[in-house]
């Protein structure tokens, strides 16, 4: 059961990633793979702020390093205490993702670089930036307060301390349909679920405002919306920023839930997000905006459940990305095949002569 709760929680966090993917891939028809980097970036920024590490980008003893440190680090470091609050650290993860997406959008629109290449460039640059941010390839949050622990304390009360001053983990359980579930696990699931639901609702509201409908129209028919006075370039930049903001937030939540940040954790996430969106579309269709947004969320949770099921049945975790890729391939190709099959079948069934 704990594994199941874990899968739900993972699914909810993936839903934020899928929301980002939905915005770029579906609303703007913009194949943006910045997410592989901005996911880590959001997580890394959050982790570093929560741990309270001091930034040292380059060795300050070197000529270039002294300049970089003077410009960037000395501005950032004094504010670390302020941003160390878990809420602000999470917000910083969101903003970090937005900054990454903004860069991708600018590369594509202002410098007219192919959308896929723009994403690859930013993603590659982010790999270094993520290492710079964390100073090493992974960091642990240790016992520092996170959004998740804040939620747990709010619901379950402050944790008790042992003689040495360390917190004792609350392992109390509650029975749900015959299973013992740790309360703390349940609270973190509820907290993340609420946050994701709130953000999905906000997105739904946003895409029905004047500016939101203009964004949707930009992806649907850019010629038309330009003729109606909308700067489509700015819309796309705003869209990639928003999308990667959600992705950065997803990474930030993942880091706070799992307790560590790793520079590799974004690998294959875009395919997972895309798979979630596709599963969601298969579940609820694409008839209305609200349905598709809800579908993306349901799809992510279902995707994670299936993944944990397949893993528990004995598939080696190393093959997970291969299977995800094959799944997305099938999901992209099958609808076409099915449509073709449906077109040809009835003619044969009705006994009509086959065209020669």
């Amino acid at each position: 059961m704990t594994a199941l709760i874990g899968a739900y929680t993972q699914g909810c966090m993936l839903a934020l990633f899928a929301l980002g993917i939905y915005i770029t891939f579906r609303i703007f028809n913009f194949p943006d793979i910045t997410g592989e980097g901005s996911y880590v970036f959001g997580g890394a920024i959050t982790a570093v702020l929560i741990v309270g590490m001091q930034f040292t980008l380059w060795d300050p003893a070197t000529p270039l390093g002294s300049v970089v440190n003077m410009l960037l680090v000395n501005l950032i470091n004094p504010t670390l205490k302020f941003w160390g609050n878990p809420f602000l650290a999470t917000l910083a993860g969101f903003l970090a993702g937005m900054a990454a997406g903004f860069c991708t959008g600018v590369l594509h629109i202002k410098f007219r670089i192919n959308s896929l290449i723009s994403g690859i460039l930013v993603m590659t640059a982010l790999y270094s930036i993520n290492l710079d941010t964390m100073g090493k390839s992974n960091i642990s949050l240790l016992e520092n307060p996170t959004l998740i622990s804040a939620a747990q304390h709010a619901v379950l009360g402050q944790p008790k301390l042992d003689a040495g001053g360390n917190t004792i983990k609350d392992l109390s359980t509650v029975r749900i349909i015959g299973w013992d579930v740790q309360k703390s696990e349940l609270v973190s699931l509820a907290a993340i679920f609420l946050l994701v639901t709130l953000l999905t609702s906000l997105t739904y509201w946003f895409f029905r405002t004047n500016i939101g409908t203009a964004m949707r129209a930009t992806g649907d028919n850019d010629q038309m919306i330009r003729a109606l006075g909308v700067n489509t370039g700015n819309m796309i930049i705003f869209g990639t920023a928003l999308s990667n903001g959600f992705i950065g937030l997803s990474g930030s939540l993942f880091v706070q839930h799992s307790g560590y940040a790793d520079v590799q954790m974004g690998l294959g996430m875009v395919v997972s997000g895309l798979a979630s969106v596709i599963v969601g579309e298969a579940l609820v269709g694409t008839r209305s905006l609200g349905l598709t947004l809800m579908g993306a969320m349901m799809g992510s949770i279902l995707y994670r459940l299936v993944v944990s099921l397949v893993l528990s049945l004995g598939m080696p975790p190393n093959d997970l990305k291969l299977v995800s890729a094959v799944f997305v391939f099938a999901a992209l190709v099958l609808p076409g095949f099915i449509a073709k099959w449906r077109r040809t079948r009835p003619a044969v069934r009705a006994g009509q002569p086959v065209a020669v």
Binding site: R208, T209, N210, I211, T213, A217, D220, R226, L228, G229
Partner: protein, 270 residues
Amino acid sequence: MLKVSHVHKTFNPHTPNEVRALQGVNLDLGPGKFLIVLGGNGSGKSTMLNAVAGSFFVDEGTISIDGNDVTRWREDERAKLIGRVFQNPFSGTAPNMSIAENVALAALRGQPRGFGSALNRSMREEIRARVRGLNMGLEDRLENMIGSLSGGQRQALTLLMATWVKPKLLLLDEHTAALDPKTADKVIHLTENVISQGKLTALMVTHSMQQAVNLGDRIIMMHKGNIVRDFQGAEKKRLRVEDLLEQFEDIRRMEQLDESASEMLQENYI
């Protein structure tokens, strides 16, 4: 209202595919006038319309609309002044959004868009009322995706959208060319009503001589990136389809003469 001066545009300059689409076009269109632009394929009539709309920047010359020099304005900036209907019915509407949403987008043409709800109650009511005015029964299908509509319905809606906010200039780019004759008649009728009721300044590119004769107060004919004929006032009113065809034949003969003349010169002097 619209003033086009010495406008030049060359596509793919300095390549084998070089096309001199506009070669010093001059045009002055007064307010409330309805101009018909005729011309053969590649005569530059659509290019001129696109140059006015801002689809590209011109190489030389200036364009001004309602006293504003818009030569360096982007397409979306010019949309403050211009309403537009495209030749392709698919171009003027967003297929995966509802009729109501499409019209609501047009209701804010050229205005800043904020975080207000796109479809509030009063907007819905107004959309329903105005769509009912099209007499196409679309007012009961406002939540349907535009993609499910026919070409004629889409063009009628695009026309409604282009004129929802009264434009300083209405651009119609062969907007009935992709429709069947009956639907085309309907859309033309609608166009005429919209323009006369709103006293709009309009520029319509067309292939149809019949439309050219029946509509508008002025006809220009374009050829090789230039305006070669201009009929206004009483002269335009007298014009019949046969006269137009004759003019076309004239232009064609002139061109042949030009070519044979240049051949003769080449043979004699080179």
